[in-house]
Structures are given as structure tokens and as C-alpha cells.
């Protein structure tokens, strides 16, 4: 009997440790650097567990790689970067807690992090209250310019609208009918609102637009694919997919199995990149599209160097994906953000948030996309080129269309009513949530 009781005690202890480690998450603190060298703490706020770990883990590694690279070359103004990595575990309120911890306890100079718009909205009040500095590396729905955030991902006019324009063009197939398919949360809903207004302005009638949403983690796309087929019976149809996370895998599998070919009904996706296609057999998907500001398949010296660096880093750190290292758009955006922050610090000669913020405007960086990305003087968003790629049988993308040069972001989309009155410069955003 006592043995049993002891066992239960042990079990309870184990269970509580496990619960604590997952529910509260581990905060990995990198040991302080040599006391003689000057160090500066920088936060990394990406989910390393939970549903978003799939996409966000590589961003944490990209950030660490960039820090290592900068430190090897003498650091920022002679200060070695000391990363503070925390895991908000795909839990939106925890993002805010961890952000507060980074800013008040660790007193980091800047934070690189967040993926979903929900997580960004949840940390926004913290950054504005404590006057922190966040670099957000993912494409999003716009409708926001916070003075404490720099957005290195794409605004809708740098991704969604060019993609739809391409599909309408002769080269893209001349689509007349549109299925707007997304996961049910703020990013797809806002993007689709913008796209609907844009399509209407191009003379597409409401009956030719079909808007559909699925819950997070939806895995059975049989009826949705069947509905798309039926809808496509009424004329040349294109699908705009804002499905997020790993739901994309069953969606694309179903498309392939039901024989919906890209030459008949092309699907353009805004959240599917090289990393998301890792889990999919891409042979039936050849020709489906994605719009991004960077593709791994781009051929230029900067990208070759970036890919080589990442492959070497993944190998040296024995990352899980080291046997097939992939780079993608948010990784590039993270990398650009870190280097721009370094340049801004060196220009401001200070780590002070307001001074760095002021120095950010106009910073340029020769990005792996092959173009020089520039931080807008006013609106905290990057000027970036737009690429549209078709899926190849090896899971890479074949660039079929690109803008001649970088495009300025329009965070306040002109296709949402009332936005024409909003100023294209930062303000406090938290109250407007």
C-alpha cells in the first residue's frame, strides 16, 4: 500500500512538473556573457510550443543566427547582443505577460517576435504602455501603425492585391469568379474585406464572390473543395486562400486528390511558404500560387549567402530541419528587421527606444530578395518587392511575376471605408483595438 502511495506521489510530482512546463512554458535564459565585454539584452518572443510552433520556431532560430553573426563581427556599437528567448506557447494572453517580463525584468532594448495578428494585438498595449520596441516580421492585414512597432512583413497592398491583380490579368488566367477561403479570425476576415472591395471596384459582382471560413485546425476539406468545383462551373474561377497554419496540408491534399488542377482553378495562398509545404506531397499541386516578398528560389548573391548561412547554422546547431534547410519570407523579414535595428542604433548612438525609432526611418538594407529594402520615413513599414510564385514539384516556388522594384506599404488600405482620413504615420494603437 505504501508503495502505491509513494508511486502516486511521484506520479503527481511528474504530472505537475509536466503541466508547469507546458502551461507556464519554459523561459530559456541564455547565460550572461563575459562580464568584461559590454552586453545588451534583446528579446525574442516566438511560440516554441503549441499550434504556431510549426511556423515560429524557425524565426527564433533565424534571430539567434543573426545575433551570432552580428556578435562575431563586433556586436552593436561594441555591445554584444545577449538574446533573451521566451516561449509564449501559442497562448495569446501569455504573449502579453512575456512581453511585460521582457520589458520590465530583462529590460531588453528591442523585441523581435509574434506571428499571428491576435498575438500582436495582445502585446500592443504592453509595448505602448512601457514604451518598448517590437519588430513584427509577418505579412498581416494592415489597419495599424503603432509608434512602438516596426512592421517588416507585407501590408495588403504588398501581397494580397498584387496577387489578385495577377490572377485577373491575361497572363494569370483571367479569373472572373472568386472564392475567398480563410481561417476564421481577424487576418483573413480583414484581408477578405479589403479584397471584396477591391474586386467590386474592378467590376466583379457579389454573386461572383464566395467567401468561406473554416475553424483553426480544420482538417476535412471535402465539402469545401466540392463547393469550389461547383462554383467554378459558372466561369473561370480563382481561389484566394488565407488558411493559416497546418490546415493547409489537408486542404492541398484534398485539392490534389479531387483532381482540381491549377490550370483550371488556381489557388493563391498568402500564408503558405516553403516551410508550410514541407509536410505536403507537392506533385499534384504544381502550378498553385503564393504571393510573398521573398522566395527561397530567388537567384541573387544576397540570397545565396543567406541560404548558405542558414544551412550552416542549422547544421552547427543540429536543428530538426537541418537535413533539408529551408528559408522563407518571414525569416527574411526577421533578418532584415534585426539588421535595420542594428543600423538604427548605430546611427542614433543609443539604445533609447525613441532615438532608435527616429533613426529607423529611411534605413536601407540589401535584402536576400535581391532588392534594397527601405524603412519608410513615416509609416513604420518596409518598402518591399512583391513576387508571385507557382509551386514546383520539389516544393519550391517558380517566380512567374514580380514588381519592377520595392513597393511602399499602405497600412491603411484605401479599400476600407474611412481610411482615407487616417494619417499615414504612427499613433498609439492600443486604445483603438
Amino acid at each position: 500500500m505504501s508503495y502505491r502511495r509513494l508511486f502516486i506521489k511521484r506520479l503527481a510530482a511528474v504530472a505537475s512538473v509536466v503541466a508547469a512546463s507546458t502551461a507556464l512554458s519554459l523561459s530559456l535564459q541564455v547565460p550572461a556573457a563575459n562580464a568584461q565585454t559590454k552586453t545588451i539584452k534583446v528579446g525574442v518572443l516566438h511560440s516554441l510550443s503549441g499550434t504556431m510552433a510549426i511556423s515560429e520556431t524557425v524565426l527564433k532560430d533565424t534571430a539567434l543566427m543573426a545575433f551570432e553573426e552580428i556578435n562575431a563581427k563586433g556586436g552593436v556599437m561594441g555591445y554584444k547582443i545577449e538574446p533573451v528567448v521566451v516561449d509564449p506557447a501559442s497562448n495569446w494572453p501569455l504573449f502579453a505577460e512575456k512581453a511585460r517580463q521582457l520589458l520590465t525584468q530583462d529590460k531588453v532594448a528591442a523585441v523581435f517576435g509574434c506571428w499571428t495578428s491576435v498575438s500582436r494585438k495582445s502585446v500592443l498595449p504592453v509595448f505602448e504602455e512601457l514604451n518598448g520596441l517590437l519588430f513584427y516580421p509577418v505579412q498581416y492585414e494592415g489597419e495599424e501603425i503603432s509608434k512602438n512597432v516596426f512592421y517588416t512583413g507585407a501590408a495588403p497592398n504588398q501581397q494580397a492585391i498584387p496577387a489578385v491583380e495577377y490572377l485577373m490579368s491575361k497572363e494569370g488566367g483571367g479569373a472572373k469568379r472568386w472564392v475567398l477561403l480563410g481561417t476564421d479570425y481577424v487576418y483573413p476576415r480583414t484581408t477578405n474585406k479589403i479584397l471584396r472591395a477591391f474586386l467590386k471596384s474592378k467590376g466583379v459582382a457579389d454573386k461572383d464572390i464566395d467567401e468561406k471560413y473554416t475553424p483553426f485546425g480544420h482538417s476535412d476539406y471535402q465539402t469545401i473543395v466540392a463547393d469550389i468545383k461547383k462554383f467554378a462551373g459558372g466561369g473561370k474561377t480563382a481561389v484566394v486562400s488565407t488558411i493559416n497554419g497546418d490546415s493547409n496540408v489537408p486542404f492541398y491534399k484534398e485539392l490534389g486528390n479531387q483532381g482540381l488542377k491549377a490550370t483550371d482553378v488556381p489557388v493563391v495562398a498568402f500564408s503558405v511558404g516553403e516551410e508550410e509545404l514541407r509536410g505536403v506531397d507537392t506533385k499534384p499541386l504544381v502550378g498553385h500560387l503564393a504571393a510573398w516578398n521573398y522566395f527561397m528560389s530567388l537567384k541573387n548573391p544576397e540570397n545565396d549567402a543567406f541560404k548558405a548561412k542558414w544551412a550552416a547554422y542549422a547544421k552547427s546547431k543540429k536543428l530538426a530541419a537541418a537535413d533539408k534547410p529551408l528559408t522563407n519570407d518571414p525569416m527574411e523579414a526577421t533578418y532584415i528587421g534585426i539588421y535595420m535595428w542594428k543600423q538604427a542604433v548605430e546611427k542614433a548612438k543609443s539604445f533609447d527606444v525613441d532615438k532608435v525609432s527616429a533613426a529607423m526611418g529611411g534605413q536601407t538594407f540589401k535584402a536576400p530578395s535581391g532588392f534594397t529594402a527601405k524603412m519608410d520615413e513615416k509609416n513604420h513599414h518596409l518598402h518591399k518587392p512583391v513576387f508571385i510564385g507557382e509551386v514546383k514539384s520539389d516544393g519550391q516556388f517558380n517566380v512567374v511575376w514580380k514588381t519592377p522594384g520595392p513597393v511602399r506599404a499602405q497600412p491603411w488600405s484605401p479599400f476600407i471605408a474611412g481610411n482615407d482620413k487616417k494619417k499615414d504615420e504612427p499613433a498609439l494603437m492600443a486604445a483603438k483595438k
Binding site: 516554441l48 491575361k170 490550370t263 506531397d281
Partner: protein, 527 residues
């Protein structure tokens, strides 16, 4: 553009002049030109009627065409040949780049190749070409189709071509001819018939023809509606079979044994990862037999999950029998450990499980309904597992013991049944079936550490809805939930459907807490 191209192609076929040297300029344009230049180049190439042109187009469609400087060549399996002469090239020139093919170009290439193979001597190639063209039904191909139709002797290909030629007669010809054409088209299974007829209706002046058109459209609409319902029923049964697989194991461990096993989902996940591991072994050591990896993965998934389940039962659950709350907490903790363990072992990323070739694609029942092979295989598999489980419980000694122990433990123990060992075996069986579910799920969904989390709630719902302790109930519940879910989804979208099903189950359980099928008699009171 496509029209010009195909007319040119038609000319080429009709003239069939002796092969001339391939136009090097056109090939160069094909490789380096922009948009229309490329399609023009395709037309020019085809117009020459050189068999080499078809080789180049096939390579272009397959993305095998590359270019370096002025040279255009085909790279296949790492070997390069010159596109124009067909001569081997010793090594791929440095700085070689893929020729970019977009969807529009690919469509043009496919249509051109299909049109070319309409005259092929091989029946299967003609059939494939006719199907390809029938789906697109470009008016430009019609003269060619008519020509092929006259020569065609195979009935299946002929009927496809007949439908396409009918399209040509729709807009011209006497009213009787038009009506005949409409009737032919109305019988066709092709997906775009409705679109063609509807567009003709808008311009048709003749009242008799108009009435015929409307009648045909109604007929087609009626048929399409039936196809839709059939497709929906299939989707529902498919979802039902997945729910059934996920819940069957739980029907034993929770339904019969009464253990609230929160780690059930993780046992499914372990089965899926076992499939992944077996797949990798096959890829590494027996790539020739890769298509048969599932034959090894199914027993492997069963065994691995069963062993994990038995260890779980021996190590933890056995000490907690009769204390559901503690069992719930302990198994939940274990589920977290298993998830984190998998994450450390295989990484947080999803892993890729490739369908064997025979499970990719689907059978085309009607032109608008394709039943995917992987779902058909899973439906059959689910019912095979069900049959095997039923046989095991009803016809074997172990099954007899399991039933005996679950119905009256004390009495079973009295007559000499080793109850503790039976518990372990039964739990192992339930876990093994969860592993089988994982193996099946790996073929349609994601394989990641969180896989089990999305099925645990559904599994409990099915078992509770069907009636705890009832296998038949589990089967009915899975199918009913699958069908209801799909039916609602087609009416109201996936988000509302999910909510509606949950609300329905809450109300149902309120009214009938024992589930659809309740155990009656002494066993219940004793339990």
C-alpha cells in the same frame, strides 16, 4: 491566342509536310521570351509539324527545359540533351536556368499535346486526350475534333468526341440539328456542358430550340443535384469512418473498461509517427517496395501503440482503477509528456507522410464528383478493423474474458479469470486500435505532436453519444455525427456546423444521458 495556336496546329496536322529543321529562333523565344512571345513560339513550333517540337513541348510542360545563354536544352534525370538536335550534352552548362512556365502556358501546352495525340494509334492516349479536351472544350479545337471523330472507331472515345462536335452544331445549323446537338450534350457527363448550354440559351432566338434548351438545363440541374447529394453522403461516410477509427479504441478502454484515458489521442499520434518511421525505413532500405510500406506500417502502428498502452496500464492506470478523477489527471499528464517527448524526438514541425501511389488521386464517378482513393481505402479499413475487433471480442477466449471481466469482475475472478492480466490485454487492444487510427489519419491529415489533441474530444463525443459500453452504438454514432456534420457544413459553413453539432450533442445528452443505445439489465446495476 489559344485559338490561333490550335488552328495553326490543325494546319500542321492536315498538311503533315515532311519534317523540316526545327526553327531555332522559335525555340530560343520559347525559352527566353515574355508572355505572348512564348505562346507565339509554341504556335510556330507546332506549325512546323516536326516530331521534335512535341518532345520540346512535353519537356516545357514538365518543367524540364533549361537555358544558358543562347542554348536551350532538356534536363531529365540529371542528363542534358540539346533541345533542337536531341544530341547529348556532356555536362549541364554553368548558370543554367529553368524556363519559367506559368499556368497559362501550361494550359496551352497541354491542349496542344492533347490535340496532337487525338490522332495517336494508341487507344488509351486518344481517350486521355479526348478527356483532356472535353474538360476544356475550347471552340478552336472543334475542327480537329470533327476530323478525329470521323476516323474514330473506339466507342468510348467516339462518344466523347461526339459531345464535343455537338458543341460546334449548337450555334450554327438548322433548328433540328441544334435540338439534336442539345440532346447529345444533355446526356454528356462533362462538367462544362451546363455552362455551354446556359450561354447558348442567352443568345437563342428560336422558341422550340429555347424550350428544348430549358428542358435540358432542368434535366442537367436535377442530375447535378443528385451528384451533389451523393458526394455529400460520401463525405459524411468518410468523416464517419475517421471518427469511428478514432473512437473504436476508446470504446474498449472507456466504453468497456471504464478508464477515462486522456492520452488516447496521443496513442493515435504514436501510431501516426510509427507510420512515418516505417515509411522512412522503406524509403531508405527498400525504395522499390515503397508503395507497400503501409502493409508493414499497419501492424507496426498496432504493436507500438499497444505496447505503449500496456506499459501505461501496468505502470500507472492499474493503480488508479475505480478513481476516475485521478485517472483523468494522470493520463492527461501522460498525454502532455508524450506530446513533449515526440517534440523532442521528431521536432515541433509536422512530418511528411507520403501517400503510396495507389492512394493518390481518385476515381471519377461523374465528371463533377471524384472520390479520392485515400478516403475509400480508409472507409474500407475502418470497417475491416471493426469486423476484426468484433470477431476478437465475440469469438476468441480473450474476448470472452474481456466481456466477462467488464460485466462482472468479481464473478469472473471467482471462476478463475486472471482479471488483472485481462485488463492489460484489453487496454493493449484498445491502444493498438488507436495506433491503427493514427496510421489511417497519417494518410489524410497532418502528422505532428499535437495530432491527438484534435481527435480526443471527438472520440469521447462519439463514445458517449453512442452509449458507453456499446460497440454498435459507437458505429452508429460515428456515422450519424459524420453525416450530420457534412450536411450542416454544406448548408451553413464549417464554423457554424461545428457549433451546431456540439449544441446538438449537449441537448441530446441532457435528454438521454445514457446515449443512443443503453445497456440494460443486471450488468448495469452491478457495474
Amino acid at each position: 491566342m489559344r485559338k490561333i495556336l490550335l488552328t495553326l496546329f490543325l494546319l500542321a496536322v492536315v498538311c503533315a509536310r515532311p519534317a523540316a529543321a526545327l526553327d531555332a529562333a522559335a525555340v530560343a523565344k520559347l525559352a527566353t521570351g515574355e508572355g505572348d512571345e512564348k505562346t507565339n513560339a509554341i504556335a510556330a513550333l507546332i506549325a512546323e509539324g516536326d516530331p521534335r517540337a512535341l518532345v520540346i513541348l512535353e519537356a516545357l510542360g514538365a518543367g524540364e527545359l533549361q537555358t544558358a545563354g543562347n542554348r536551350v536544352f532538356i534536363v531529365k534525370d540529371g542528363k542534358a540533351t540539346d533541345a533542337i538536335t536531341g544530341a547529348n550534352i556532356a555536362s549541364i552548362p554553368p548558370g543554367a536556368e529553368d524556363v519559367v512556365v506559368n499556368n497559362r502556358l501550361r494550359g496551352v501546352v497541354q491542349a496542344a499535346l492533347a490535340a496532337a495525340s487525338l490522332m495517336s494509334a494508341d487507344r488509351s492516349m486518344r481517350l486521355a486526350a479526348a478527356k483532356e479536351l472535353a474538360a476544356g472544350a475550347d471552340p478552336a479545337v472543334l475542327p480537329l475534333v470533327t476530323k478525329a471523330f470521323e476516323k474514330e472507331t473506339d466507342p468510348e472515345v467516339r462518344s466523347l468526341l461526339a459531345q464535343m462536335t455537338a458543341t460546334a452544331q449548337l450555334k450554327s445549323g438548322a433548328p433540328e440539328e441544334r435540338i439534336a446537338a442539345i440532346r447529345t450534350l444533355a446526356k454528356s457527363q462533362s462538367g462544362n456542358t451546363r455552362t455551354i448550354l446556359a450561354s447558348v440559351l442567352e443568345t437563342e432566338k428560336d422558341d422550340v430550340v429555347k424550350a428544348e434548351l430549358q428542358r435540358s438545363l432542368r434535366e442537367i440541374d436535377g442530375r447535378l443535384a443528385w451528384h451533389q447529394r451523393a458526394g455529400l453522403a460520401f463525405a459524411g461516410i468518410s468523416l464517419g469512418s475517421i471518427l469511428l477509427l478514432a473512437a473504436l479504441g476508446l470504446a474498449i478502454t472507456y466504453g468497456l473498461m471504464g478508464v477515462i484515458n486522456m492520452a488516447h489521442g496521443e496513442l493515435i499520434m504514436i501510431g501516426a509517427y510509427t507510420t512515418y518511421a516505417v515509411q522512412n525505413l522503406f524509403r531508405g532500405y527498400a525504395p522499390g517496395a515503397f508503395d507497400w510500406y503501409l502493409a508493414a506500417a499497419v501492424p507496426a502502428a498496432f504493436c507500438v501503440s499497444a505496447i505503449v498502452g500496456m506499459v501505461l496500464e501496468r505502470g500507472v492506470i492499474r493503480w488508479l482503477y475505480g478513481r476516475p478523477l485521478e485517472t483523468l489527471l494522470a493520463t492527461w499528464g501522460i498525454s502532455l509528456m508524450l506530446i513533449q517527448g515526440m517534440r523532442t524526438l521528431f521536432g515541433a514541425q509536422n512530418v511528411q507522410v507520403v501517400n503510396p501511389a495507389f492512394m493518390s488521386g481518385g476515381i471519377e464517378v461523374f465528371s463533377d464528383i471524384v472520390l479520392p482513393w485515400n478516403r475509400i481505402v480508409i472507409i474500407v479499413f475502418a470497417f475491416a478493423v471493426l469486423a476484426a475487433m468484433w470477431l476478437m471480442l465475440e469469438r476468441t477466449r480473450l474476448g470472452l474474458f474481456v466481456r466477462g471481466v467488464t460485466q462482472n469482475r468479481a464473478m469472473a475472478s471467482c471462476v478463475g479469470v486472471p482479471t488483472t492480466r485481462v485488463d492489460t490485454w484489453a487496454f493493449g487492444l484498445g491502444s493498438g486500435i488507436a495506433g491503427l487510427a493514427g496510421c489511417a489519419l497519417s494518410q489524410i491529415g497532418n502528422v505532428g505532436p499535437d495530432l491527438g489533441q484534435s481527435y480526443i474530444v471527438d472520440s469521447f463525443l462519439v463514445v458517449v453519444f453512442g452509449g458507453v459500453g456499446q460497440l454498435a452504438g459507437t458505429v452508429y454514432a460515428a456515422l450519424i455525427l459524420g453525416l450530420t456534420n457534412k450536411l450542416l457544413e454544406s448548408w451553413s459553413g464549417a464554423v457554424i456546423a461545428k457549433i451546431a453539432v456540439l449544441v446538438f450533442i449537449i441537448i441530446f445528452i441532457q435528454l438521454r444521458p445514457q446515449g443512443m443505445f443503453a445497456l440494460r439489465g443486471r450488468a448495469v446495476e452491478a457495474g
